[in-house]
């Protein structure tokens, strides 16, 4: 599978990274180079093999469904580039 420029532009959009038009071609070559290399995994017989989702066999712990944290909004927003009181501020989303 080889990427074309349109696909690279689509990936960049999905990843929310602005890529200038003139960067698309070099980026396409780089990504194809890496993807071409990882495609060797196709030669491994994985019939009947379970995909690994956890390196240590474990079941996730559960706990009582109760509020155990919080109550410090000023800490939550302390690092916000832009904020109003205890809110994060972003450019207008709804017209």
């Amino acid at each position: 599978m080889s990427l074309d420029k349109a696909t690279v532009a689509r990936i960049a959009r999905l990843a929310r990274i602005r890529v200038e038009d003139e960067q698309l071609e070099p980026l396409r070559r780089e990504l194809n180079n890496i993807l071409g290399w990882v495609e060797q995994l196709g030669e491994v017989d994985t019939a009947g093999v379970e995909p690994m989702t956890s390196v240590t066999p474990m079941t996730l712990r559960t706990r009582v469904d109760a509020v155990t944290d919080g109550g410090y909004p000023e800490k939550v927003v302390a690092n916000a580039p832009d904020g109003v009181e205890h809110f994060f501020a972003v450019p207008k989303v709804i017209e």
């Binding site: 690279v8 602005r18 980026l27 890496i34 491994v44 240590t56 690092n79």
Partner: protein, 493 residues
């Protein structure tokens, strides 16, 4: 008496206990060495005032008979660990000005044990790199140089600042994190010890996430015993990390009995990678001979899927990174670059905030997780990862621990790997398989290579059997008697 900064953790604790010197004196010595080592570009943030205040508190605790396991020992903290009120950058422009309102569990545990953080160490951006060249704050220089050469060498990565701080004798211990080799490879390149424990042994809570199924914190020190002491202070169950494992932390240093008689040591055939330099082959054989002489039994084993470990890693790690790094959007912390609307603001912020290697990995990860390609890339990689873990499981039916070189080359010079990302990725060919299987692995300095720079040997253990790894490493360390140190060129610089 030798300089205070020449002492290891065990030696420093001993001297502090005897009252030979105070934590303040030791910390002042480390801060002085840190300042002199500025040409190495070790620190992103130096913390002299905070460190001295903590040192005074450590001296008071010791006087009161309440000293902790690392009380009064200066350390360097990789700048991937959140530290309350102290700038935390992950060496990325996108975290500009980020002052966490909490500390990582590992940082808290070390502070509770009495360790004194004197600096936040430089690293590859978001721990993505093998040479420290991707840091927004500039590369770290390796304290070592080649015999007769003065080209600056890379310290390895991603824990390059941590490794250089220990090798340059600024501190006796530093924290690292290892996703595919980021503790062990820089340890090998700088002639120190680096231990990646079993996945789940150290809490990941508060460590800036790269690839969550692989990331593990661990110690970087100048001796195996020091690594055992420091890991003891870092490890332990943490309910705040859902993959932290609830089991007791053994006394790792006590496991170093010096006795490996009857220990079965596996030598994996597939680790003899194509083009492996003769000095690394020779050192590996030397390591085999040392363990054999000490009474261990050497067994040739096969890990047939070894060659697929790197491609698996370069699907799984970018996939997880693309998800983990989605949080950097200019809204909650760090850099924001304005745009006409919300989406443009995201795109501008992430284009300006992430470096090239990080952007490349996010895009690879986005692609392999996208509709239509998920099964061919990501799912297949997860299945091959199972195969790789099975290889190890089978090998451990025959042996107790594996011995390999840590890296396929010694430290290289800046720019020497060119622009080919795959050439850089190949640095991790011998460390990535243990990461994918979540196994404990240590690198220790075993000799100097043909270029006069250090080479490391790696021991890989069974899950949660750090004790056997430390035991075998202690014996190898004793046999190797590595006492070389770099010329302190940076002090004259």
């Amino acid at each position: 008496m030798a300089a205070l900064t020449d002492l290891g953790i065990a030696g420093a604790l001993d001297g502090l206990a005897k009252g030979d010197f105070s934590a303040r004196e030791l910390t002042e010595a480390s801060l002085g060495a840190l300042e002199r080592a500025r040409p190495l570009n070790i620190a992103i943030t130096e913390l002299p005032e905070q460190a001295l205040a903590v040192a005074d508190a450590a001296d008071a605790r010791r006087k009161a008979g309440e000293a902790g396991a690392m009380d009064g020992v200066p350390i360097v903290m990789k700048d991937l660990f959140c530290t309350e009120g102290v700038l935390t950058t992950a060496a990325s422009h996108i975290l500009d000005g980020f002052h966490p309102t909490y500390s990582a569990t590992v940082a808290t545990k070390l502070a509770e044990a009495g360790a004194i953080t004197i600096a936040k160490a430089n690293l590859d951006e978001f721990a993505m790199g093998s040479s420290n060249e991707t840091s927004h704050y500039g590369p770290v220089a390796n304290p070592w140089t080649r015999t007769g050469g003065d080209a600056r060498l890379v310290p390895g990565g991603s824990s390059g600042g941590s490794a250089a701080s220990v090798a340059a004798r600024v501190v006796a211990g530093a924290t690292g994190t290892d996703t595919g080799g980021s503790i062990r490879q820089p340890a090998a390149f700088t002639g120190i010890v680096g231990m990646k424990p079993t996945y789940g042994r150290c809490s990941r809570w508060g460590i800036v996430a790269f690839a969550s199924s692989l990331d593990q914190a661990g110690p970087m020190t100048r001796s195996v015993r020091d690594a055992a002491i420091m890991l003891g202070a870092m490890a332990g169950f943490d309910p705040k990390d859902s993959t932290s494992v609830d089991r007791p932390v053994p006394d790792f240093a006590a496991a170093m009995s010096g006795d490996v008689r009857g220990l079965r040591v596996g030598v994996p055939t597939e680790y003899r990678v194509e083009g492996m330099p003769a000095d690394i082959e020779a050192l590996w054989q030397q390591g085999i001979d040392w363990l054999k002489t000490a009474g261990a039994e050497i067994v040739e084993v096969s890990l047939p899927h070894t060659k697929y470990a790197l491609p698996v890693y370069y699907i799984v790690a970018p996939a997880e990174a693309s998800s983990n790094l989605a949080r950097y959007d200019g809204v909650r912390y760090g850099l924001r670059v304005p745009g006409a609307d919300l989406t443009e603001m995201y795109e501008n912020t992430r284009a300006a905030g992430f470096g090239h290697e990080v952007q490349r990995r996010i895009m690879i990860g986005t692609y392999v997780l996208s509709a239509g390609y998920y099964d061919a890339y990501y799912l297949q990689a997860q299945k091959v990862r199972t195969r790789i873990a099975e290889d190890f499981r089978k090998a451990y039916e025959q042996v107790d621990v594996l011995l390999t070189p840590t890296t396929p080359s010694a430290a290289f010079a800046f720019g020497e790997k060119g622009d080919d990302p795959i050439a850089m990725y190949l640095n991790d060919v011998l460390t990535v398989p243990a990461s994918l299987a979540g196994l404990p692995a240590i690198s220790l300095p075993a000799g100097l290579g043909a270029e006069g720079t250090p080479l490391g040997l790696q021991l890989i253990g069974r899950p949660f059997d750090e004790e056997t790894v430390f035991r075998a490493a202690g014996v190898l360390e004793e046999a190797a008697g590595f006492d070389h140190r770099p010329d302190a060129w940076w002090e004259e610089a």
